[in-house]
Amino acid sequence: MSQKKLLLIGGAIWALLLLAALWPQLIAGYDPIQSNPLRALKPLGTEGHWLGTDYLGRDVWSRLVHGARPAMLMGLGATAIALVGGVLLGLIAGLGGKRLDTFLNGAFDVLFAFPDLLLALLMITMLGAGNFNALLAIGISGIPTFARLMRGEIRRIRNSEFVMSSTALGVSRRANILRHILPNALGPVVVLASLFVGRAITYGASLSFLGLGPARPTPEWGLMLADAQLYLSMMPWLAIFPGIAITLSAAASVILARALRRTAE
């Protein structure tokens, strides 16, 4: 019952997000870039601009809707990279030999110490500016966290009775990893991933000042939120709505992660 409710809510959020990302024109009435100073800073509830307008007179709702695609791409893309990279490296570290483990751990430590900003700069130099490269930078900077968590869980599980027992049963190493070790180890990693989505969006926006990530004037939640920082005390709606949008996408991912976990069980 409650499980169903949760899935229903999650499904509704996803539907809304997907709709906004795929066909923003359908639900947004205004051009998200066109500024119109005449209608600047209309408060909440203004006729035609129910979520108000920003300092350049752009409709907040339309910007939110149009911001869905880049934001979701950033959030999900970066998370996917961090998750896949982290899980793979974590698996290798946790299941490979001691030397490999030591080597990878050292690499994680260096990567941890390596400033994200420098990584971002390197991405720009090597690949140029752009949304995808920002996503890559953020994803890569997230890898060591995921990898180490994964490694820890793998190590915890790899020697447990039931893994031994399925080895004894004749389950191949690969199947053992995929069926027994991974699903049991994945729990915390999946949670981390679902929470990473929201972080990646805000973090992606923080790189835009270097030309990485969303480019102005493209509407993007993280950017909108960052821009609204100054207006927080006076025009809080400018910050609240992108904040809600990011939170919703994070919540949607959390719900998805939970559903995945339940079905996995």
Binding site: E161, F162, M164, S165, S166, L169, V171, R173, R179, N184
Partner: protein, 550 residues
């Protein structure tokens, strides 16, 4: 008599029913336990013994709905008791020995801390007195070198050691009522006798005892009153001598008949129809060797908490011949499970080798071992630990069937058949192992091991959690398969009766060494080694009625 005021009345249960949704798992059970009295709870595996005993300490899962006409402990109604009230009873007034001794300890804590926990939780005594009490309890249950070895964690202990520690933790605070759910399954007959003696002593000091067991001989030696359960109901109850000596109910009668010690060797114990053997025929190419598994000079040592290195297995050599059932008996902690793990290639021996069908096995890399694995299967001593906690029985069996090269579409049907052959209903397919009774789990483990159609089966206490009737069925199954298709079985058991009934040859292990081996009849009839003689002398016998039953 007014029950409320009877100071000797420890527990008084009337009409206890435990249900899960619409199904009643336990129906309308009534019994009483008084000071100095032992109630034996016997019955079919899955009949609700554990649920009943857990109800007495208020620890059944919340989804299981409990109701009773009367449910009194120490003269107080407990039907609506709150968690906080229960807590005050637990440990100090009601001791509880969990059926699953192997998983009952927190693997991250050492045994000493675990045993002391009751005292900690109730803030009894100070540091030194708690320590003394813990060591005392451990000594009482025959835990060797308690001071040093209680610093080990549970997974460093053998099954029997864990079980002894668990009993120690239940009696450490000298409860008025002890609920012991299968407390001797992992104990060799010597230790078992010792524990029974200990419990009897406590009983005569005034402790009440609810003793759940499938071992009728043990029950008969300690219980004053017996309750026989079948499919969630009580089929018969009364003074021990009456019930066991002159059973009225068919089920009780069948139980007693199924005791292997009473049946001639090799004869059928159960009347259940045996499955066709074709299901179990190994489809692997024949190998010419006569010896299925051969162990040579195995040795293994572990480091104990005091830093000493102890050889738990030394110079063990044996051959398991093709189509033979080889028994392995020996004291608890003598290294049987370690030998098993070495044979299965799960633990690397320090010395020695195991060969499988004449081919090297122990020293192979795991990659090379995996393709051979389906041919040799293990039924481990701790079935619960052997299952992926997230997997249902269906998935567990499917996986094993997949390894046994059963095509996907046949797996469901075969899984049901397998369950059937171990006496389980197909409903269990979608159950998590955690939510089954001890005997049901053990049977799933057996079914899983048989699913790959092995040539060699290594059984580490495969029937310890089964009541005699189900045990009979399983033993019949095993000997049936062995006879018909030549399965080779290494069979470890504490139940010498079972070993004698089932095995052709037997080895006796003591302190890591094999002290005697030979034909079963010969070893049992003319034991050569002192230790063997000792063991045989301690076999519990069904005693007749006892005089002091109320």
């Amino acid at each position: 008599m007014n029950m409320q005021t009877d100071p000797d009345m420890l527990a008084s249960i009337e009409g206890l029913t435990i249900s899960l949704g619409q199904t009643r798992l336990v129906q309308n059970i009534s019994f009483t336990i008084r000071r100095g009295q032992c109630v034996g709870l016997v019955g079919e595996s899955g009949s609700g013994k554990s649920l009943t005993s857990r109800a007495l300490i208020g620890l059944n899962e919340a989804v299981l709905v409990q109701s009773a006409r009367r449910f009194e402990l120490f003269g107080e109604d407990r039907r609506t008791a709150r968690e906080a009230d229960w807590r005050l009873l637990r440990g100090t007034r009601v001791g509880y020995v969990l059926q699953d001794a192997l998983g009952a300890f927190d693997p991250l804590k050492d045994v000493f801390t675990e045993v002391r926990e009751t005292l900690d939780a109730h803030r009894q005594g100070d540091r030194t007195s708690r320590r003394a009490m813990v060591l005392d309890a451990l000594t009482k249950v025959g835990f060797p070198e308690p001071e040093m070895r209680s610093r080990q964690r549970s997974w460093e202990l053998s099954g029997g050691l864990r079980q002894r520690a668990l009993i120690a933790s239940a009696i450490v605070a000298a409860p008025d009522l002890l609920i012991a759910d299968e407390p001797t399954t992992a104990l060799d007959v010597n230790i078992q006798a010792r524990i029974v003696q200990l419990l009897a002593g406590l009983k005569s000091d005034g402790m009440g005892l609810l003793f759940v067991s499938h071992d009728l001989a043990v029950v008969s030696s300690i219980a004053d009153y017996v309750v026989v359960m079948h499919e969630g109901r009580v089929v018969e109850q009364g003074p021990t001598a009456e019930v066991l000596g002159d059973p009225k109910d068919d089920y009780t009668r069948m139980l007693i008949a199924a005791m292997p010690a009473r049946a001639p060797r090799g004869s059928r114990l159960s009347s259940v129809e045996l499955p066709p053997v074709s299901r179990f025929v190994s489809n692997r190419t024949e190998t010419s060797t006569d010896v299925a598994l051969s162990a040579r000079d195995l040795g293994k040592s572990y480091v104990y908490p005091d830093g000493s290195r102890v050889r738990v297995v030394s110079d063990v050599s044996f051959d398991l011949r093709r189509g033979e059932i080889l028994g392995l008996v020996g004291g608890s902690g003598s290294g049987k499970s370690t030998v098993v793990k070495i044979c299965m290639g799960l633990v690397d021996p320090d010395e020695g080798d195991v060969a499988l069908f004449g081919q090297p096995w122990t020293r192979l890399p795991e990659r090379a071992r995996t393709p051979l694995r389906p041919r040799i299967q293990l039924i481990s001593q701790d079935p619960l630990g052997a299952f992926d906690p997230r997997w249902t029985v269906r998935r567990l069996l499917h996986e094993a069937l997949e390894i046994g090269a059963v095509p996907l579409r046949e797996r469901d049907g075969q899984a049901e058949q397998l369950l059937h052959s171990v006496g389980l209903k197909p409903e269990l397919l979608d159950r998590l192992p955690r939510k089954m009774s001890g005997g049901q789990r053990q049977r799933v483990a057996i079914a899983r091991a048989l699913a790959t159609r092995p040539d060699v089966l290594v059984c580490d206490e495969p029937v310890s959690a089964l009541d005699v009737s189900v045990q009979a069925q399983i033993l019949d199954l095993l000997s049936h398969i062995q006879r018909e298709i030549g399965l080779s079985i290494l069979f470890i058991s504490h139940d010498l009766g079972v070993v004698r009934h089932l095995c052709q040859r037997v080895m006796v292990m003591q302190k890591g060494e094999i002290v005697e081996q030979g034909e079963v009849e010969q070893v049992f009839a003319q034991p050569r080694h002192d230790y063997t003689r000792d063991l045989l002398a301690s076999i519990p016998q069904m005693s007749g009625a006892r005089a002091d039953v109320a």
